[in-house]
Amino acid sequence: MTGKVKWILGIAVVAILLFFIAYFVGVRLRPYSYHGMLMQSTEPPGDFTLIDHNGNRMHLSDYEGKWVILYYGYTFCPDVCPTTMLQLGRMMPLLGKKADDVQVFMISVDPERDTPERLKEYVTYFHPSFIGLTGTPDEIADAAAPFGIYYKKQEVEGASGYLMDHTASVTVLGPDGRVRLIWPYGTTSEEMAEDLLHLMR
């Protein structure tokens, strides 16, 4: 081999190497940008106790060790809640085996109408593992306030009774109970799964 060929080969090898390093640096080592808002909270916001959709009393702390996803809504919700629940339901199969480490709760902000039976029928329609939670108005307020959730009854004209005005974001808690991520309304199932899989690494 002449010196010239050696040089050309050498430069080609270095170019290929450079490309792979640039790819590695640019794509693999780049800090992951979450679709949701990543939190740096150092401690859990606190425990709460509610009734699950089978009528059993539960504590949030019972689920330590799992990735807990909290969504506050109600079964009579016309559009926002079904959309979010649908995305959460579609997210589950995208998580693969890791779905076993995830527990999604829908906490009713309308305990007046959301009986455990009704909640069970509603949440399991979106995914069989989902759990609906309800309680007394005070218990629900205690479970909602520390997570930044606001809700209020809105009387409307017509036969449908009333609507609940409520915060529509989804909260992700880590296995230690700390708030890790907030997904705004409109986050898709793919984005949720991507964020969650990245967090669970």
Binding site: G10, L18, Y32, M37, D138, D142, G148, V179
Partner: protein, 257 residues
Amino acid sequence: MRRIDNTVPSAPIAYSQPDESLPEERQLLPSFGNVKLVWFVYGVFGLLLLITFGFVTFQPIKVLPRVRLAPGYILTDQDGNTVNNEQFRGKLTLYNFTYTRCQPPDCRQLDATMKEIQDRIQEAETYGLPVEFVTISFDPAYDTPAVLKAHAEDIGADTSTWHFLTSDDPKQVKRVVGTGFQVYFKERGDGDFEFIPTMILVDGWGIVRGIYNGRVYLPETERILSHFNVVAGEAAFSKGANRVGYEAAHLFLCYAD
């Protein structure tokens, strides 16, 4: 004041550019004949480490941590209107917690600092992000809306952006101030409270970004004003390629003083 949406910032993208490895390559090429590729790889990783080290040391982007979620609430303001946390979404909100019967000069200072910040908020560039102020009373039995209204006038607060909140349900106040904002207060009897004077800065997402625990007096005004700028700056510029830099700043704990 600039609008957030059409601002295209030229803030530094403080993350490793693959191109920076080029000079390294030229230096090493001559020895390539001896298959010293391994040194080249070392060089690139060394450079990466250096860039990371440089980022951590010089902290070109400063942020404030996303500490925790501010609580959700419905309370009543000094005019008897209901106010909830969702009304402050997309705005920067500075909270403090007090009771109007508080006698010591400390309490006057707490009000005075908030007033000073409200008066001087124009000094902090917030990139068009609206700023609101909220005082929550943890003495709802005495601090009725009417009492709060008189108090607001007394301290010269501009109530167009400063809201004085209370509730007719003491449980709600405990839930919001104690459990939610995690501010310590305890009634000592005779209308007197033991409490830690606290200010809390909440961003447009409803996330707590600054906790001024005890550090709430007039000399702290500059620091708190500068934090408004840090949080607003992130909201305005943390987009596209810049977002990587901001997230790296969070990752490497490049926190503003």
